[in-house]
């Protein structure tokens, strides 16, 4: 990775983030309080404030760095950062926006595939039935992530404790839920096109 960036302020990266997230990146004055309190910081490749900084600079060369970072996928949305930010900058929300953009651009970090697989399975389940059933979730996730062995030991206990249900509960309004999914995805796609 290069440590150099060529100034090119005519980038659309900053504007795109701000437009999607209703954020004003310039608000952040780089105090670092977000990074100082983030529980995941030890596992991240960039500190949260560094992600904000690169978004502020907005050069196209940074787009890949940011959207391809591990940080945005390791963020667990705990909101510690947003709660303590002295500038009231909603950095947890910025992470949401960046994840959305990362997926769309196909730039997600390799290590993120597990996380994305989990989210996908989760969403698929809800989309089909209207509710989430964790058993298919776990199975589906394991298939997608090829991570077949972790947690396997826990299934028997979960089943005997009747914590896992095998058949998903289907709600009556599941067609409505399906429609909500379709609409939301269409709109996000439209917003993305509008940007270009």
């Amino acid at each position: 990775m290069s440590n150099k960036t060529v100034s090119d302020t005519a980038s659309s990266f900053t504007a795109e983030i701000e437009g999607r997230g209703r954020l004003r990146l310039a608000d952040c004055y780089q105090c670092g309080k977000c990074s100082a309190g983030c529980p995941m910081v030890d596992y991240m490749d960039y500190l949260p404030h560094q992600i904000v900084r690169m978004c502020q600079m907005g050069e196209d060369s940074l787009r890949e760095k940011v959207l391809g970072s591990r940080t945005i996928w390791l963020c667990v949305s705990c909101e510690t950062c947003s709660t303590r930010c002295p500038k009231d900058f909603d950095i947890a929300h910025l992470m949401d926006v960046l994840r959305e953009m990362s997926l769309e651009a196909g730039l997600q970090h390799a290590d993120a595939s597990n996380i994305i697989a989990f989210h996908k399975t989760f969403k698929n389940g809800v989309e089909k039935t209207g509710r989430l059933n964790e058993f298919p979730l776990a199975i589906g996730y394991k298939l997608r992530s090829m991570d077949l062995f972790s947690d396997v030991t826990k299934f028997p206990k979960m089943v005997t404790a009747r914590k896992l249900r095998f058949l998903p509960h289907k709600i009556k309004g599941r067609d409505k839920v399906k429609k909500i999914f379709a609409k939301c995805e269409a709109r996000i796609r439209a917003k993305k096109r509008g940007k270009k």
Binding site: R20, G21, P39, M40, D42, Y43, L74, V76, S77, C78, E79, T80, S82, T83, D90, A92, D96, V97, R99, E100, L103, N114, I115, A117, F118, H119, F122, K123, V126, G130, R131, L132, N133, E134, F135, Y141, S145, S150, K154, K157, M158, A161, R162, K163, R165, H169, I171, K172, G173, R174, K176, V177, K179, I180, F181, K183, C184, E185, R187, I188
Partner: protein
Amino acid sequence: MTKLGYYPGCSLEGTASDYGISVRRMARALGWELQEIEDWNCCGATAAHQTNHLLALSLPARDLALAEEQGITELLVPCAACFSRLVHANKAMQQDPETAREINDIIEMNYRGTVSVLNLIEALQKYAMPDIAGKVQRNLSGLKVACYYGCLLLRPPKYTEFDDAEQPSSMEDIVRALGAEPLDWPFKTECCGAGLSMSNTGAVVDLTHKILENARHHGARVIAVACPMCHSNLDMRQLDVSRRYGKYNIPILFLSQLVGLALGVSEKELGLKKHFVKATSIIR
């Protein structure tokens, strides 16, 4: 009689069925009537939130709109993750007419913003305190409880509008009223990384370990939680933590279970047997 709308959420119907059972049982003991939203759907939890912000608002919005249609004004949401998603959507729609319009258009309903969302602690504060002390049947004195809030109940405060985000004390008040002994410990609002529990186990085990260790260090006999994700992390992951960092044996109780126990409900009825870390021995 206290009447509350009720949104159990998927976890309370699934992996955290013990939470679901104990909330219903506790409500009965307190004389609350819970009216479950008919045909509710999943709130989307973190997955929707992290990848499609419209979806993250629309899924909970449908639940709020259903609740409103069904005449519910106060909605109890025991799951902290669902609570977080529902208050977010609620505030976003109440505060910004434009968002309200867009989301109503997506869900093809007309939510007017009349429902207020309560988490379990708020509901207890409002409808069980302070006279709960008088209803206590079982002596919990000397039981050292570390109250663990995690992140989603408190943050961000501008949405949750509940307790002090950094030094909360409302769960301690309840635990004290039950006759047990709440502890002062600094990690009660640290995040356990629950959102990544399935997908990034390594990091989560580290975070969970820090919390367990801090609680043990301050003398906790049990940890009380009000979130199924906190519970599954601290309870289920305790095995992995023990494997990596040495043996831990701290039962994790849902607040509803603790209240239920104090009110004299049996361990079985409260689903205490479903835990990974044995929790049935805490009362003599």
